[in-house]
């Protein structure tokens, strides 16, 4: 379903993604693990047509996101790592706009919005502006929105960041359910090893833009002689702490926060 070969992305001097290759089979849940700044998000951005790769080939359901962005986009849904809601609109309006963008028929849109907002316990607040929501509520809305249309491939970029265990459980149960009943292929990144181990069929570990290992959780543990996935992860990526590049967007967000206070 996803095919990536020798994918490279450079920002000036920095090689964010340096020649990675992997395949994700239809109906598979594939976890992409790596320290901060390893190239996870950049890979997802390239797969989802937000960034053009420097070199290499990609296929989503047989379509190249670079040459056929529109067709490729209709195949996937995504929950971003950082916020992407319109906070000046209500929760319901955010869902409705998303449905319109993905050509979900009106009737289906309303029904599914109700189901999903209820599932993530936001239905009572559907007519509140998103700017009045707490961090966790925004995150839940973001996830509910990503699930509104039923895509063939679902990208989840650190979806559980800042969520309480209840909502995390809710999310993964729902994702597994989607995967089993509708055969949705899932590509996820997370920093929570237990989530990856419980949910994913296969795992790839990326570090400094390279894939350093891939296989099932059991295979990774065996390969590194570790007794937990976390142990395997640390054995593969070392224990130094990474710095992430602060881009223009981060600086702006910081400034915006200053202005809001």
């Amino acid at each position: 379903m996803i095919h990536v070969e020798n994918l490279v992305k450079t920002f000036g001097e920095v090689k964010a993604v340096d020649g990675i290759s992997f395949d994700v089979a239809p109906g598979e849940i594939f976890a992409f693990l790596g320290p901060n700044g390893a190239g996870k998000t950049t890979t997802i951005q390239m797969l989802t047509t937000l960034q053009r790769p420097t070199s290499g080939t990609m296929k989503l359901d047989g379509l190249d996101p670079v040459t056929h962005p529109l067709q490729a986009r209709s195949r996937f849904g995504i929950v971003f790592q950082d916020p992407s809601l319109d906070v000046e609109l209500t929760a319901f309006e955010n869902m409705d706009l998303h449905g319109a963008l993905y050509h979900v028929p009106r009737k289906v849109r309303v029904d599914r919005t109700q189901i999903l907002l209820t599932l993530f316990e936001l239905w009572d607040r559907r007519d509140s502006y998103v700017k009045t929501f707490s961090g966790g509520m925004k995150r839940r809305l973001e996830i509910a929105r990503g699930l509104l249309h039923t895509p063939k491939i679902l990208f989840l970029d650190e979806p559980t960041l800042g969520l309480d265990p209840q909502s995390r459980n809710q999310l993964w149960t729902h994702v597994k359910h989607l995967n089993e009943t509708e055969g949705v292929t899932v590509f996820l990144t997370t920093h929570y090893m237990d989530e990856a181990e419980r949910t994913a069929h296969r795992i790839a570990v990326i570090d400094h833009g390279h894939i350093v290992a891939q296989g099932t959780a059991a295979a990774l543990k065996q390969q590194t002689n570790a007794d937990s996935l976390e142990g395997a992860f640390l054995a593969l990526t070392g224990s130094t702490i990474r710095d992430e590049r602060a881009d223009a967007a981060d600086q702006m967000r910081q400034m915006a926060r200053m202005w809001r206070r």
Partner: protein, 248 residues
């Protein structure tokens, strides 16, 4: 078409919900209207040009539209920073439709803002010379809104952060305003200034508004309309092109 409509609706909703912003953006044109209108009024009248309030009101309306529409385009920067832009860019929708929805929304709110200012001007004592010409004034407002919403989108798509914003403000938006003849008549100017005013698209917008509102025009309605149409198409194409090249 649904997508264009929904994104247009989003812009309009956001505008109508930001009361402080609406009031804030009335303040500046109002200052020009009242301070310059009444301050320079006596001098203007002594030189035999008639009422300065009558003269400057269409200029102030044009100013409000210029600022609102350019800012709506630059609002793209905020959407980029707060992430909503990504949500629209990964949707299976041609970018042209996204850009059109946003830009038409920008032109619409600019026209609403212009209308508000026109009402404020009338409260301050401005009188349009003929009610029958008001629809023509609205047509010019929308056209000016389109021209600068298109330009704003082009700028918003090319800027990466707010640092460039001050530059755009001082070297583009303010000159466009001051050279447009919003504040002074465009006849008998020194050559350099005359040339500058003629390449400024807003000159034709203000002149068109003046033609419709006080029956006084330098270039003629047809000319104004034609030039604005050309600028609008040009900037919309430029905006669409710049928008299509955005990478997150």
């Amino acid at each position: 078409m649904t997508v264009v409509y929904y994104l247009w609706l989003r812009e309009v909703k956001r505008y109508l919900r930001s009361r402080p912003q609406i009031i804030g953006s009335i303040a500046q044109p109002l200052l020009y209207l009242l301070v310059l209108g009444f301050g320079l009024g006596p001098v203007f009248e002594q030189s035999g040009q008639g009422s300065y309030l009558q003269f400057i009101a269409p200029g102030v309306v044009g100013m409000a539209i210029l600022f609102t529409s350019i800012f709506s385009g630059i609002g793209l920067l905020w959407d980029r920073q707060f992430g909503f832009l990504k949500e629209t860019l990964v949707a299976p929708v041609p970018r042209l439709q996204i850009m059109l929805g946003r830009t038409l929304g920008g032109a619409t709110i600019a026209s609403i803002q212009g209308t508000l200012i026109l009402i404020v001007c009338m409260i301050a004592g401005f009188r349009p010379y003929s009610a029958a010409m008001i629809p023509l004034a609205f047509a010019f407002m929308l056209l000016v809104g389109l021209v600068f919403a298109g330009l704003g989108t082009a700028i918003g798509s090319s800027l990466k952060d707010m640092q460039g914003f001050q530059l755009i403000m001082n070297f583009l938006v303010m000159p466009i305003f001051f050279l447009s003849g919003a504040l002074f008549p465009l006849n008998n100017l020194p050559t350099a200034l005359a040339v500058a005013t003629r390449v400024d698209p807003l000159s034709y917008g203000i002149d068109g508004l003046r033609g419709a509102l006080i029956g006084l025009t330098q270039f003629g309605v047809i000319m104004n309309f034609g030039v604005l149409m050309i600028f609008a198409s040009g900037f919309l194409v430029l905006g669409a092109w710049a928008f299509s090249r955005i990478q997150i």
